[in-house]
Symmetry: D2
């Protein structure tokens, strides 16, 4: 692709993952933003929807139907689940040359039965569901390079899978005894107007939600079970915390006999030592969500629990970056053959 810029469309540019994609891509040396869609806000300028882009020259928002696919190399799809599978199916029919990085949940679950169980209806694009590659870069890098359709993982799942799967694969922990207590910033709930997400309802307090029902558990089950070679069902509780960004997962595990915290730390430090976006802290250190805010980094800490062979692992990401749009750009870089860090070199904004 020489020095040319890939021509990029963002479908669903009026949500937070859409604007975050734009924030990152505007600093990417090898892409050109050629289309932004937002069905209900079509006709508006991006600066009307997100004033922080006012200083930039950007295409107007259009509907998906107005897109000219021939001028587009790769599309990010940041649409609601359900409609996504129909949009992508149709897109590949009219424009088979397109690469797609999908940020919805529609193509994350490989098993049609699991999809139906968690989402309540049969999948509408079964052959694409089989084709899609799960875009957890650090685990599926080589598959992603060859993919036409990448299913960008959920924010909770990215944050939990990064430390847990290598440990299961290494036989370092008991997969039957995993408790994931996860906390999310409010951007994780999107930009739609709901009473339960008003400032007055979520500031200065916290609460659990979706206990026993949150759909990201389908992804956890899939990836943990794949790593273990048998069906694994972790405990998982999501919480909403009064912060804008961040997934903070506190993970309680029981190690194989004698492995302990030192062994867990060694497995993770080895596994990630060459990765640009996963940083394993020195043993005993604990991350803060704010140290990854705005960046594509995952920070992982390992601390011994008080009982032998019990270990507490803490994993922190920015749900909009490594948990969504940043990882999506990372996936795009792989798909387009670019260096993986292009557009993602920004440092966390703290405070």
């Amino acid at each position: 692709m020489s020095d040319a810029k890939a021509r990029i469309a963002i479908l669903g540019a009026s949500g937070y993952t859409g604007s975050e994609l734009l924030r990152l891509l505007l600093r990417h040396p090898r892409v050109a933003i050629v289309a932004l869609t937002a069905d209900r806000k079509a006709g508006q300028a991006m600066a009307d929807v997100f004033p922080q882009f006012a200083p930039f020259d950007l295409p107007k928002l259009v509907t998906i139907d107005e897109l000219d696919w021939s001028g587009i190399d790769l599309a990010f799809c940041a649409l609601p689940h359900g409609t996504t599978q129909q949009v992508i199916k149709r897109t590949f029919e009219v424009a088979p040359h397109i690469k797609i990085v999908d940020l919805s949940a529609d193509f994350r679950l490989r098993d049609p039965g699991a999809y139906e169980q968690w989402y309540g209806h049969p999948h509408q694009a079964l052959e694409l569901q089989q084709e899609a590659v799960y875009g957890l870069v650090e685990l599926y890098r080589s598959d992603i390079r060859k993919a036409r359709l990448v299913a960008n993982p959920g924010c909770y799942t990215t944050t939990a899978i990064l430390p847990v799967v290598p440990l299961i694969e290494a036989g370092a922990i008991e997969p039957e005894n995993i408790v994931i207590d996860a906390k999310s910033g409010v951007t994780g709930a999107g930009r739609s107007a709901k009473e339960s997400l008003l400032f007055t309802e979520v500031s200065d307090g916290m609460h659990a939600y979706g206990v026993g029902t949150h759909r990201h558990m389908g992804e956890l089950d899939q990836e943990f079970s794949k790593a273990a070679g048998r069906s694994i069902v972790p405990s998982f509780t999501p919480h909403l915390v009064p912060m804008n960004r961040g997934i903070y997962a506190t993970i309680y595990v029981k190690t194989a006999p004698g492995v302990g915290a030192a062994g867990v730390h060694r497995v993770l430090a080895d596994f990630y030592h060459a990765e640009p976006f996963v940083h394993v802290l020195p043993a005993g250190q604990v991350p803060q969500s704010r140290f990854v805010k705005g960046s594509n980094m995952a920070f992982i800490g390992v601390v011994p629990d008080r009982q032998p062979d019990r270990v507490i692992i803490i994993s922190a990401t920015d749900n909009l970056v490594k948990g969504a749009s940043g990882q999506a750009v990372q996936n795009m870089n792989l798909v387009l053959g670019y260096p993986e860090t292009f557009g993602l070199e920004q440092i966390a904004l703290f405070p």
Copy 2:
């Protein structure tokens, strides 16, 4: 004591638990605030330290040494641990008639060895350590009524003990498999000037702290072990969340075979059904920390986990009220023979 008002002193009135005691006691029909101490701010008016009290007529702040104990019936002690045991020892020597509700950690651990292990030095008032009654009202009400010295429990421990101890005592859960993931508002860390507690360091993000070392674990071990009749060591991780008030404990338990979430809920609903300050939500409902903010209530929810016989229990309190000053007033009411709810009828402030 007829209709007379008990004469109350607050030692350590310049901290948050001190001001919270005052907020509650100023609405109590049967107490008179006769003394407020704050060694470093002695000479100042309470309104200089906490302007919200400006409209009230209150005694000036004095040093402890200036107190005339003969005019005092009961003292709340809201001083740092370590110095507390010396102050209380001396107080009982010069004024044996005094009743004391102590909000520090000094008299919570019954075992001198445990105290030394968690606090790093031998206890300086061993006989008082034996005499003190652990002030978790719902468990020790009758002992508290007769006590001269009440050790008000910690905020994390109150929040975790309320749901867990009745379940251990009922044989409903496996005490060896308890994971407590606890989150605290920032007032839990007090009012001293530390870089790590600046707005800029703790807003818009979160983190775990004291993993494997937090001293409230000594209290949990003591009370869980007492309930189980054998040594119990739960997993416990405290987190700091950008909210002013609230302890939010997400507790993962494994029940005895066949008990499940329904059994857990029944035990707790029965145990607390007549308690004025513990509210067990309908099965499957989850509390929010904000629904107890400013009130003495504990809200408890019970939800089934996805695996049989695994249950998620969520317990929420205001760390400054039921987790500190509110429970201290509740203890005072018992010690002085007042109705337990006096001064504590305020409703949560939401939003």
Copy 3:
């Protein structure tokens, strides 16, 4: 009315001013809550809408049409403007014995033309508009005592009028040179689901809104002009600040020659020295919004500006209490002949 309890209805109990009324009235010794309405949530328990009330025994939510007015002595009306005037008109027709404290804007403006200008349509209950008393207690106490319909003032206007009107009346300031820069907590915008009020849209930042168009200016004009005896049009800019509660008004005035900050302070200190809910700070001291949070107090500070005869006045209230439901209870106390402070003795919740 001897020791009997007045029978109270709250119309519009599912909003923040409704729940705040309930919080205060549940601690009032002489009222009984006999009805709560919420048209869209009729049939639900108040605890479904506001879980903090779960421990209390309360009437179920009903529609206004279901009310039996014969069992009601006084109603608080916390409904949207526009519909309010129709509801109240009909209520007085079927139940002329009722007293009403209205928290909407419908009866605050005495001049039908001003109402039409600010609200965009002619008033539907002109004779009631003339009858209503403006419920700024400290200025209209004796009229309120005799009123059947009290128009509870807006939060911004209460906060600004308290310091400004006595100064205009005393001739201490130039009414033509008043700049009011006002900041509000987010509860001021109510509980309806709007994108612009999401946590993610209003946390960790601030902005002005309604510049030159905010309807509370109609009230300011009315009261300032009445005090000055001529038409006064102050500068007024409202801002939204990431806090739940609080109106914080920074007011820039030019005094009559030689009056200065000392003169301004003297006028206000004298005017309010016997008032239970207005506290004028010592000269030169500045209030914080958090020192009135949850209380019915207004705190006022006076500081000299750098130019002679320019003074900065700062006024702080809790928009849901003195700015809405607290002042409404204060009005109710006057209307029912109760001591003015009943139900309003709570102290600010800080932190």
Copy 4:
């Protein structure tokens, strides 16, 4: 300087302006960070002080005395005022080749008397005070290009001067009638441990501070008076708002007869139309502080007040970027002959 990288030192790297400089400079294509000083934390890694830099390879923190000036081309000085003037004086003595961008207040006031008035002691480096160029880029660009010592302006002053000075110079407003009501995020107060800056003291509420005494008024007086050609003393009130970043200035002005809001908008739109970092919004639109968070942009809005010839101007910056470190990098780019936007292309992080 061809393609070589300038060798940069940051003095005072353990504060927020220091870390913010580093965040920006690590993305700058033509600089190399060769030294970081922090006297009290010397010997530590930057990642110990600011963990977000853990993934980067950086020089260890050293004391200023350990610096080898011969290997440094330009130093940013982010030290407290007072000590700064002594450090810089000594630096120029031993290393006259050095360029310095100073972020303290020490060299902002040209008049030694004004300095002494606001800072309470005579200036210790009078000749440097005369030499220093005031680094408000949009006003002093050509002087800055030739400067050896640039005095980076204060955050409040940058935000207010940008809209006000061009209006004074154009004769569009009355300089005697300027009221600046300014609100700041908490990072503006730095990282030192003070009770008044604890999360618990500044969250969920707001307050004015430094009324009539804030030192940034010295800068405002200087620049406004210079523009007007006579002594100007604006009203100015700073407030602390519970947000991490942002200066939000609401400015009330009286225009020259007939100029009005349209005239004010035209002057500002013309003045800034080619500037990369100042964005004048369409007439009538109001900025939010969050739309410049993390970016070097200033957003300015102009709205008519209700009285003829009164106008409300709103100016928003990020106090750590355009109000401090971003503008410092902009100054560095001018001093070193680089394109002005290098290192400053990041887009605001919202939410």
